[in-house]
Subunit: 158 residues, 2 copies
């Protein structure tokens, strides 16, 4: 199977959104995805876009994607955040995930970032073992905090 | 004590860096801060800057700061990441931290973000209790992964 990895364009966004939804099911949050294709177009195109996206393609079929953006670490400086890396379920185990992963890390090195960061569920042992094997570190002591839109509004009304 | 909260400018960056170093000591990583004032200037000024920064000031003295930037959540859309919120140690307990926190949340709501995210050490119980009291949620199941520059290079050489 010949896999091509290339930047996503507007026409790919419906398939990209399908992949995002597929991952949310795997992560046991099937209803968590609130974005639409319109949000991907609004935030992912043009000069001030909030993210970049690569897709893995075989014979005009999108089999996987990686979505990422720059961040700023006050310890290390410019860094890259890998928001999602997804391979369609029936095409897993064929090396597509690692090919995308490698492309993201190459992009990171080309852009002189000091580190790449992402998030993983603590029960996703296969993913954690893969990340460790490549040389990444799981931060055991740090927790993520989320303050959601409606809770934010409630807080500011106090 | 009259506290003014305003956007940081270039002249504030040395004091902002001192605050970043003070927080790293508190977080038991005194040698983790590798950035310089030059990195803050390079990445924090101009149209394509990677972050925004607010400072809390009293009589021309910087007593605290908050540094943040936009991210893109593939579940929720445009979000804000609060990278650091720091109050100089001897000025804690005077409400400066919460004043900065509130300003960041107001900025978030004004910019229609779907959520604000940040990271906390699991032993920083005072911070965790404050966040929960305001309405934020600690994500127990998620872990942060870091792939550092030298490890990245080793991986890509394989």
């Amino acid at each position: 199977m010949k896999i091509t990895i290339r930047p996503a364009n507007k026409a790919d966004f419906p398939e990209v959104l399908n992949l995002i939804k597929e991952l949310a099911v795997f992560e046991k949050e099937p209803d968590a995805v609130e974005i639409t294709v319109n949000d991907l177009e609004k935030e992912g195109l043009g000069e001030n876009s909030l993210f970049q996206c690569l897709v893995a393609e075989n014979e005009n079929e999108i089999l996987g994607m990686a979505l990422f953006y720059f961040r700023f670490s006050t310890w290390k400086g410019r860094s890259l955040h890998l928001e999602d890396l997804i391979v369609r379920e029936k095409h897993r185990g064929k090396g597509i995930g690692e090919a995308l992963y490698k492309k993201v890390m190459e992009f990171a090195v080309e852009h002189n970032v000091k580190r790449v960061a992402w998030e993983v569920l603590d029960w996703n042992i296969n993913a954690i073992n893969f990340y460790k094997r490549t040389g990444a570190t799981i931060l055991d002591e740090w927790r993520i905090v989320h303050f959601r839109e409606n809770e934010l509004n409630d807080y500011l009304k106090q």
